[in-house]
Symmetry: C2
């Protein structure tokens, strides 16, 4: 068993959230705990970042959820091929664009998380390597 602790939470006024970040232009704020301020110092407006978060309002995972039919698809898929919030470990991943950095609050666009969703990590967004192997990786 592995223990995780939220580093902050999502704040958004949106109630009708898109089903996925890739089709979202909803704005919101990532409110990060003051203790992590120094960890945010190199995040700049315009950057895309990966946000890992906890699906804290999802039901407990049961074997019937190993296959699920996404609302916008016409058949069931294995849970590891879809982005359903009902997963063995309730970790969500969204790629959002930073609009502004205000202390430990990041204004972002591309939100598909519910208001008050606990955030577990932020990572740089890294595209796949080019054929020469020179991905823009930090």
């Amino acid at each position: 068993m592995i223990e995780m602790h939220p580093i902050g939470y999502v704040r958004t006024d949106a109630h009708n959230l898109p089903r996925h970040w890739s089709v979202s232009d909803v704005e919101g704020t990532l409110v990060i705990d003051e203790a992590y301020r120094e960890g945010l110092r190199d995040i700049r407006p315009g950057e895309r970042i990966v946000v890992l978060f906890c699906f804290d309002r999802s039901p407990r995972f049961t074997p019937e959820l190993l296959r699920q039919k996404p609302p916008h698809r016409d058949r069931e898929y294995g849970v590891f091929s879809i982005c359903s919030p009902r997963r063995p470990n309730p970790i969500g991943l969204s790629v959002v664009t930073v609009l502004a950095v205000d202390g430990t609050s990041l204004q972002v666009k591309g939100i598909d998380m519910l208001d008050r969703t606990p955030i577990l990590d932020i990572k740089p967004h890294i595209e796949a390597a080019t054929p020469s192997g020179q991905a823009d990786e930090k």
Copy 2:
């Protein structure tokens, strides 16, 4: 506090691992627990998948790790702008290519995880939306 349970582990013979999946062509196996077999049914060779895993051999996070100098960079960065395994929550993210599916074992290429690393989740790899908003999202 949020509890996570591994769904399987990474198996690789490689000892000199590249620093990042984006520059890796190391092969290995994702050995998933039999209980999750049905969740893997739609994963196909040639697909890229996102693997979330636990940096189980990293030291406990302390405030001095909020800024770190990656070995191949010339200055310190905030931890949320780099892919260091020493993070507030020890979650790693790698994008790998599926070579073959054999029951609950996935042969993959692009490994940057240590042998026996616990796996927490597998997700489809989704590129950013096109301007028309039509990302290939499940």
